[in-house]
């Protein structure tokens, strides 16, 4: 393997490690759950991206074959990361954030955690929401 490729792959792996470390450090450093969510959804994405590019380069340069697994990992990551973050955020809001702390929607219907969608059958609000109200 030529030295230049080797250097590039090493650089990408180290860079990926650094971003992963910073993202994890953010989990310790930031103060509340919503702020901490920003670390793993972003800093780690690029970290994993760097490692995946390094892996693809390695397979092309050393094994002489193109590997598609990395592209799939990227695809699945982009599909799952926002959904995970969204679920965590919603859970956090239900348990810890009151209706009044959020900005108003500016329309007839409030946020979906506190209100049923229009046209839905009447239902009892969940215990947590009732406690907030």
């Amino acid at each position: 393997m030529p030295a230049l490729t080797e250097a590039l792959i090493s650089l990408l792996i180290v860079l990926g490690g650094v971003f992963g470390l910073v993202g994890s450090f953010g989990l310790i450093k930031l103060r509340d759950t919503m702020q901490r969510l920003h670390g793993p959804t972003k800093a780690t994405t690029l970290g994993i991206g760097c490692v995946l590019i390094a892996s693809m380069l390695y397979f092309i340069a050393v094994k002489g074959s193109v590997s598609f697994h990395e592209l799939l990992i990227t695809l699945f990551l982009f599909l799952t990361a926002p959904i995970t973050a969204n679920s965590i955020a919603k859970t956090y809001i239900i348990r810890n954030v009151g209706k009044k702390e959020l900005p108003a929607t500016g329309r007839r219907h409030g946020w979906s955690v506190y209100e049923d969608p229009p046209g839905a059958p009447e239902s009892q609000p969940s215990p947590d929401v009732r406690a907030e109200a």
Partner: protein, 163 residues
Amino acid sequence: MIRRLIPHPLLSIVLALVWLGLVNTVTLGNLLLGAFLGLVVPMFTAPYWPNRPKLRRPLVAARYILIVLWDIIVANVQIAWIILFKRNADFRSHWINIPLELHSPEAITVLAGTITMTPGTVSAMLSADGRSILVHCLHTEDPDHERDRIKQRYEQLLKEVFA
């Protein structure tokens, strides 16, 4: 007839490609199996996708993907910088309410995902009628500017893509 057989051509192609990627080698057998999956899965899942939107402007979609990829790289560097060098006391976190002009659930899902992956913002939830999205901003001096940026940079393009 063709529409009955292949209700969702794009999904068929994606499924076949994902299958080829999973087995990681392109042989005739794998190609056939991929094509088979691409035919069968959309046929059986079509009832779960009533009134799905058509992807009308593939070029705009490609441009959107490139913009988002670039923003993700910038976002990572920015967030890393903020995490490492900003004192916790200096953070100005905000909740932002973004009124949506998009209607289809698919377009709103893409927008919510984009907001989460790009600089300093995480999408948290929708309003009960699905016409507003709640976004958490890690650090901003001007929440209104942030709202306008998301609307201009992403929502405008998505409106064209899913028009």
